[in-house]
């Protein structure tokens, strides 16, 4: 029966929580951001900017519903343009949240505890942005419910052999489970908010959301089981979601899509871009809200390491794609490789290699991994790189396939850009609101990291 009195922290690494915190100060610090901190002009200004950008999305969607998908740059042969590129990009970004909350929980990585809450929120908002694209891409989004199996007067059922229907199930399950996981994690913290709120209105709202949570030992026991099971279920789920997304491509016979490396390579790319987004958000948030005590250099450095590792897997994916283009001896596959390197989109392919593979290699150096500025810059570079990856995969593969007579080019229109930029506005608007209305780090989980939270078993034997 191992007794543990303090958190094992290796000497050289920065701590997960800065010293000097108690159960109470953790709660106070996190809760006060929501309850006490005045709304600053900077926050209002940022919110207005983001909210305006979000309205660009509404405008673009409104015009789309009026005119149809003809306002976009999609043509034949490139029938999948920005909508699918952005869908894959956003859903990939969401993956880091689930990885942090589920996989790192199963691996008992205690450093996850201070970043899992907002990473999960990031997942939810990113998946919400992702979900918009396939919906509006159908052309008649008001009939999107036809994709769900339900008995109907048309005597029609969805086609379950189609990867696009698998996508419907994978993405809607992913969103639901992410939401449930996030909310279950929030319940004890909502109780803390309820008990700390002074205004009757806030108290009432948090009271309703906390549902009468009182921290009973019996409740915690069931809660921990449920949380562990959710982590266990979310782990294969997150790996499956981008696998299914990659099936949208891999199941077809288009050169550049029809390859078995797609599932692992997509999942690695998803986590890569997701951690880039985590860093991109965490670095400014910790500076603005003074969360350096909880989101320490250790978190940032670890995220940098995850980015480096997943980035190398992505690099391996590119290498195998190129290798198979040559080794298969298939005319169309080797032409695809040539077209990527020398075709009309070659500039973007080289840009992809530089942003996604070359620049992130500086993360090997501790100096860059421990500099918030450089980490932030590299994460932005990776986000751009991963977007370019999806652009290359979708556009370059479709652009010149089997028949030269049906070759074409893809030029996004302003409506494409407005829709894409609009979803970034929607994502940031949601994040903007989230940091001010909910506790952005998990108070209860952080408390368990303090040395005084650890207990010895008394005279009664455990189990």
């Amino acid at each position: 029966m191992a007794t543990q009195t303090q958190i094992p922290v290796e000497d050289q690494r920065p701590p997960v929580i800065e010293p000097g915190h108690s159960f109470s100060t953790i709660g106070e610090k996190v809760v006060n951001i929501v309850l006490k901190r005045p709304v600053s002009l900077g926050w209002i200004f940022g919110f207005l900017v983001m909210f305006s950008v979000m309205n660009v999305l509404l405008l673009a969607m409104g015009y789309l519903f009026l005119k149809g998908t003809g306002i976009w740059g999609i043509t034949i042969p490139i029938g999948w343009g920005f909508a699918i590129i952005n869908f894959v990009w956003w859903i990939g970004i969401g993956h880091a949240g689930t990885l942090i909350s589920a996989i790192l929980a199963l691996l008992r990585q205690s450093w996850r505890n201070s970043i899992n809450r907002f990473a999960e929120a990031m997942t939810l908002f990113a998946v919400a942005c992702a979900g918009i694209f396939p919906l509006i891409h159908t052309g008649r989004p008001w009939l999107a419910y036809w994709m769900f199996p339900y008995p109907n007067t048309m005597n029609y059922w969805p086609q379950f052999r189609s990867p696009l229907i698998w996508d419907v199930f994978a993405v809607s399950t992913y969103f639901t489970i992410s939401l449930v996981f996030w909310f279950v994690g929030l319940i004890p913290d909502l109780a803390t908010m309820r008990d700390r709120a002074e205004h009757p209105f806030t108290r009432g709202i948090f009271g309703m959301l906390a549902m009468g949570w009182r921290g009973s030992a019996r409740h915690w026991h069931r809660y921990e089981t449920a949380y562990l099971l959710l982590a266990g279920l979310a782990t294969p789920l997150v790996l499956s979601v981008h696998t299914v997304v990659s099936f949208d491509f891999a199941v077809s016979i288009v050169p550049g899509w029809h390859t078995t490396i797609f599932p692992p390579y997509f999942v690695a790319g998803a986590i890569y871009s997701g951690f880039a987004m985590v860093l991109c958000l965490a670095i400014p948030i910790r500076a603005i809200y003074g969360m350096e005590d909880f989101i320490t250099m250790r978190h940032l450095e670890n995220s940098g390491k995850v980015m480096l590792a997943t980035g190398l897997i992505v690099g391996y994916g590119y290498f195998i794609e190129a290798f198979m283009g040559w080794y298969s001896g298939n005319t169309f596959d080797s032409f695809l490789l040539w077209n990527r390197l020398h075709g009309p989109y070659a500039f973007w392919y080289w840009g992809l290699l530089i942003t996604n593979i070359v620049i992130p290699q500086v993360l090997w150096l501790k100096k860059f991994r421990t500099s918030t500025f450089w980490l932030w810059v590299i994460s932005l570079v990776v986000l751009v790189g991963m977007w370019l990856e999806r652009f290359i995969i979708i556009v370059v593969s479709l652009q010149r396939d089997f028949l030269t007579s049906s070759w074409g080019m893809y030029y996004p229109t302003k409506w494409d850009w407005m829709t894409y930029i609009g979803t970034i506005g929607m994502f940031l608007t949601a994040m903007w609101l989230f940091v001010r209305i909910l506790p952005m780090v998990s108070i209860a989980e952080l408390r368990t990291l303090l040395p005084e939270a650890h207990v010895h078993e008394g005279e009664e034997a455990h189990k």
């Binding site: 086609q159 379950f160 449930v180 004890p188 207990v455």
Partner: protein, 182 residues
Amino acid sequence: MSGAAAENPVYGLMAEFDSPQELLDAAQKTHGAGYKQIDAYSPFPIEGLADAVGFHKNYVSLVVLICGMIGGLSGYLLQYYVAVISYPVNIGGRPYHSWPSFIIVTFELTILFGGVSAAVGMLALNGLPQPYHPVFNVPEFARASDNRFFLVVASNDPKYDAARTREFLKGLAPRAISEVPS
């Protein structure tokens, strides 16, 4: 409010502690002294505390297992019904019952049912949402979500006796003892 509670206006006695260790020790002693209707409250999960108050087994995993299996089965059977019985479509001569294509939706529905049942099952077994609970009548209990640790002996415990239980709890050296009105 039930008849039993009306007869007994006191829900129980609440002892307040400063640290998880004190609460765990106190819970073990109280349970060891023969009190069974006890509960402990803490701002975060404490290892072994549920055991100390005599709660050893929860059924959340069973709920998840059953619901996950229902999800998986219903996912597969739905696809079988659609693709073979109700709406058979011949695509490239593939068999109607093309099971490899059905794995993904089966898997997703297993996770969906299992995951939702983990959350809903946990809340339902915990009796949440619960708009009213007597422990909240004690003003200090607001710190149960902050930095205080509480042990409650309910008045419906066969061994409960207002005076003697209070004496017993005093022996555990709590920070304070309060009566919980029901």
